[in-house]
Symmetry: C2
Subunit: 502 residues, 2 copies
C-alpha cells in the first residue's frame, strides 16, 4: 500500500480482511460526515452557480443599455450631494432634523426619465402643500374641542380624507396625473394632523417639511436634467419610429420567406432573419410602455425638436394603428408555419403580386418612419408610395380574378380522388385546398394595406398637430440662397421622376 | 312702458329717441361690466359642468365596482386606528416621535389586494432590517476615521450602495420580487447613515424604526385580510375564466353575425351583441394586469380553493394562448366589416360548416372555462367536444374541396366581363373574388381551432400542476353514498350519449 499512498493523495479506500477469513461489509470510512460534506459542497456549488448566473444577467442588463448604468450613477450622485449638504452646518441649523426629508425626497422622486421625475416632484410639492394647510386647520379645530374629544376629531378627519383621496386615486383621469400627489397628500395630512404638537410648532414643522422637500426636488431636477438627461418624450418618439421599422421589416420578411422558401442560407443568417420576422411582436407588446411614456412626456419642458405641448397623445393613436397592422401580420405569420402548403403553380401565379404589395406596403411604413423621425414636412414621396401600394393591391386583385382557369372542376373529391385527377390531367390542375393558403395570404395582405392607410392618416394628423417642418422651413429660408433652392428643386423632381418610372 | 315694466322683471332695453329726430346708436347700457359678468358666468358654468362630469365619473367608478369603495374605507379605517393608537400614551412613550413611521407604513403599504400588501410589508421590513444593519456598520467605520474624513466616508458609501441597489432594481428577476425592498433599502440606509447621531443612539433609532414599521405592517395585514379581503390570485383566476367566456362569445358571435347579416334586431339588442363581439379586445389588453396579479398572487397564503404554491405562472401561459386566439378573431372581425362581400351561393354552401366549427370551438372554450372555474377534474366532455371540433373542421375542409364546381372557368375577366358571364351562365356562377372573403374566414376558423387545441393543452397542464379535483375526490368519497355515486354515473353516461347523438 505504501507506494500507492504516495501516488494518490486524495480519498483512500481501505479494505480490512479479518485474519480468520470471515467476510466484512465494506463501509465508507467517514459515513455521515462525508454525506454532510457532499451536501454542503452541492449547496455551495449550486449557490455559486446561481450567483454567477445572476452576475451574468446583471452584466447583460448593463451592457445592453449603458444608460441604465448612468441612471444608477446619477441616483448615487444626487444622494451623495444631498447627504454632504446635510453635513454642512448652515442647512442643518436651518431646518434641524427635518433635513432628512430632503434625503427622502431624493430617494423617492428620482426616476430614470426627466418627465417621470418632474411628475413626482410636482406632485410631491403640491400634495405636501395642500395637506399641510388642511392639517393645520383640522388641528386647530380639534384643539378647540377639548382634550377628550381631540383624538376622535383627528381620527375622523384622517378616516374621511384618507378614504376620499384613496378613492380619487381610482378615477382614471386623476390617476394618470395626480396618483402620487394623492398618496403624498394622505401621508402629509396624517403626519401633520396626528403629530400632536401645538399649532405654532405645527407651522414650523409644515414650513420645514415644505422647504426641505423643495430643496430635495430642486436637486433632483438639476441632476436629472443636467447629467445625460433621458426624456420620456424622446424615448416615445424613438420607440414609435423603431417599431415602425420593425413592422415594415417583418411584413416584408414574412411574405418574402413564404414565396422563397426554397432559398437556402447559412444558420447565422437565418437567425438574423428570424429576429426580423418576429419584430411585429415588439409592436404587440409595447402598449403599456407607450402609455406611460406619453403620460410622463407631457410634464417635460421644450427639449430637442419637441415643444412643451407636443401632441404626445397622437403617438398613442399611431401606436394603436400599428398594433392593428401587427395583428394581421400575426395571422400572416401563421400562414407561413401552416402545414397545408400551396401548389407551386399558384405560388408562381400570385407570388409577384403578393411580393409587390408587401414591398410597397413596407416602403410606405418605412417612409412614415422617416417622416416621424426627421419631423420634416411630409415629402410628396409618401403620397407616391401610397399610390404605388394601392395599384399593387389592384394588381393582386386582378391576379386573384385570373385564378379560376388554373382550377380543374373535375378534381372534386366526390367524383375522383385527388391523385387520379392529378395523373389524368394534362392541363395544370390545382385543387381549391392547395389554393386556400395563398388566397388567405393575399387577402390578409390586402387587409393590411387598408390598415396602413389608417396609419398614414394618423401620421398626417401628427404632422399637422406637431407642425412638422415649420422650424425646417424657417431655417431653410434664412440659410438657403436662391441657387441652392433651385438645386434642391431639380433634385426632388429627378427623384420623383425616378420613382414614377419604378 | 309702465304696464310692460310690471310684467318683465328681467333685462330691459331702453331706446332713447332724440327730440330733434336724429338717429342714435343702440349701445348696451352696461358695456364692459356686462362683458366681464358674462365671461365670469361662462367660466363658472364651465367649471360647474366639469365638476358635474367629474362627480358622475367618480360615481360610475364606485357603482361599477363597489369593492373599490370598500378598499377606500379600509384605508381610512387602518389609518384612523393607527392614529388613535398614536394618541395612546403607552405606544407614544415607547417609541417617541418615531411612532410616525407606523402611520407612514400604513399609508404606503396599503394596496387593494392582499398579495400586493403582503409583498410591500415583507419588502419594507426586510429592506429596513438589512439597511439598518449595514448603516450602523458604515457609521461605526466613519466615526473611527476622524471628524474631517467622516462626511466623505458616509457620502462615498451612500453613493456606492444607492447606485448598486438602484441597479439591482433594473434586473428583471429582482424587480419582480424585491423592487420595493430595494427602494426602502436605499431610503433607510441614507436615513440612518446620514443621521449624524452617535452609534448608541443609532441602535435606538434603528430599533424604533423597525418596531414601528412592524406595528404598521401588522395592522395593515390584519385589516386587509379580515375586512372583505380581495386576493390577487382569486382575481387572476376569475379574470382568466371571464376572458375565456368572452373569447367564446365573440368567436361564436362574429361567425353567426357574418352568416345571418340579413336578420334584423332591435337597437338595444344590437348594442348588446356588439358588446359581445368586442369581448376579444379585453383578452388582447389584459396582459399587464395578468402579469401583476400573478406576481402578487405568489405572496398570498392558502385561501379559498388555492394553496400557497398554486401555479400562478401557468395562468400566464393560458393567457398567452388565449391572446393568440384573440389575434385570429381580430382578423376574423375584419372579414365582417369587409366591403368585398361574398356571393350568397358560397355563403350558403360554407355557412353551415363554418357555423359548426365556430360553435364547437366556442363550446370547447366554454367547457375549459367551466373546468378552470370549478377546479374539478377535467370532465370527459372536454375530450368529446374537442373531437367534435376536429370533425367539424374536417367537414369544413371537405366543404371547401367541393367548391370548384360552383366556379365557372369562363368568367375570367380577360375573356369576358363579369356581367356578361353572369348573364350567360345558366348554372350558378361565382367569381373567385366573391369566394375570397368566405375562404379567408373559413381558413382563419381552421387556424383558430388549431390554437384552441394549444389552449386545451395549457389548461390540462394547469389541471395537472394545481391538482384539480383532488379535494373534490376526497369530499366525494367521504360524503357520497354508493347510491349517489351510481346515480351520478348514470347521469354522466346519459349526457355523454346525448352529446354523441349531437
Amino acid at each position: 500500500m505504501a507506494p500507492r499512498k504516495e501516488v494518490f493523495e486524495g480519498v483512500e479506500w481501505r479494505i480490512r480482511v479479518a485474519a480468520d477469513g470471515s467476510s466484512g461489509a465494506l463501509v465508507p470510512a467517514t459515513g455521515l460526515a462525508r454525506k454532510a460534506w457532499l451536501g454542503i459542497k452541492g449547496l455551495i456549488s449550486g449557490f455559486a452557480l446561481k450567483v454567477r448566473m445572476f452576475v451574468k444577467k446583471a452584466w447583460d442588463v448593463g451592457t445592453n443599455d449603458p444608460r441604465k448604468v448612468i441612471h444608477c450613477i446619477k441616483v448615487g450622485l444626487a444622494l451623495a450631494i444631498v447627504s454632504l449638504f446635510y453635513f454642512m452646518r448652515p442647512l442643518y441649523d436651518g431646518v434641524g432634523g427635518n433635513a432628512m426629508w430632503a434625503v427622502m425626497t431624493v430617494v423617492v422622486v428620482f426616476e430614470p426619465t426627466v418627465g417621470a421625475t418632474l411628475y413626482k416632484c410636482f406632485n410631491r410639492v403640491l400634495g405636501t402643500f395642500l395637506a399641510g394647510f388642511l392639517a393645520v386647520g383640522v388641528h386647530w379645530v380639534a384643539s378647540q374641542s377639548g382634550e377628550r374629544v381631540e383624538p376622535f376629531v383627528v381620527g375622523a378627519s384622517v378616516f374621511l380624507l384618507a378614504s376620499a383621496s384613496t378613492f380619487s386615486r381610482l378615477i382614471p383621469s386623476v390617476k394618470s396625473r395626480f396618483d402620487y400627489g394623492a398618496l403624498i397628500f394622505i401621508l402629509t395630512f396624517s403626519f401633520v394632523a396626528v403629530s400632536g404638537y401645538r399649532v405654532d410648532k405645527l407651522f414650523e414643522l409644515a414650513h420645514h417639511r415644505i422647504s426641505t422637500i423643495i430643496i430635495g426636488s430642486s436637486l433632483c431636477i438639476l441632476v436629472i436634467m443636467l447629467v445625460c438627461p433621458i426624456w420620456s418624450g424622446q424615448e416615445l418618439h424613438s420607440l414609435i419610429v423603431r417599431n415602425m421599422d420593425k413592422l415594415a421589416d417583418s411584413l416584408d420578411g414574412c411574405v418574402t420567406q413564404y414565396f422563397n422558401q426554397s432559398g437556402e442560407g447559412t444558420n447565422s443568417k437565418e437567425e438574423a432573419t428570424d429576429n426580423k420576422l418576429q419584430g411585429y411582436k415588439c409592436v404587440l407588446s409595447s402598449k403599456a410602455s407607450e402609455e406611460s411614456m406619453a403620460n410622463f412626456g407631457r410634464w417635460e419642458p421644450s427639449h430637442g425638436q419637441f415643444n412643451f405641448r407636443h401632441p404626445w397623445k397622437q403617438y398613442l393613436k399611431i401606436g394603436a394603428s400599428m398594433r392593428s397592422c401587427a395583428y394581421c401580420i400575426e395571422a400572416l405569420s401563421s400562414c407561413i408555419k401552416s402545414e397545408n402548403q400551396a401548389a407551386k403553380l399558384i405560388k408562381q401565379h400570385l407570388g409577384s403580386g403578393c411580393l409587390k404589395v408587401s414591398s410597397s406596403s413596407s416602403n410606405v411604413i418605412k417612409e412614415l418612419a422617416e417622416t416621424v423621425k426627421t419631423m420634416k414636412k411630409k415629402p410628396s414621396t409618401t403620397d407616391l408610395l401610397a399610390e404605388e401600394m394601392k395599384s399593387a393591391v389592384q394588381g393582386l386583385q386582378n391576379d386573384l380574378k385570373t385564378i379560376p382557369h388554373l382550377l380543374n372542376p373535375s378534381a372534386i373529391p366526390g367524383n375522383k380522388t385527388l391523385e387520379t385527377a392529378c395523373l389524368e390531367a394534362t392541363t395544370p390542375t390545382v385543387t381549391l385546398m392547395e389554393l386556400v393558403p395563398v388566397v388567405k395570404l393575399a387577402s390578409i395582405l390586402i387587409e393590411i394595406s387598408g390598415r396602413i392607410e389608417a396609419l398614414v392618416d394618423a401620421v398626417e394628423e401628427l404632422a399637422k398637430l406637431a407642425e412638422f417642418g415649420i422650424n425646417d422651413d424657417k431655417s431653410k429660408h434664412s440659410k438657403m440662397t436662391d441657387k441652392t433652392v433651385s438645386d434642391a428643386k431639380q433634385q426632388t423632381e429627378g427623384t420623383m421622376k425616378a420613382l414614377q418610372r419604378v
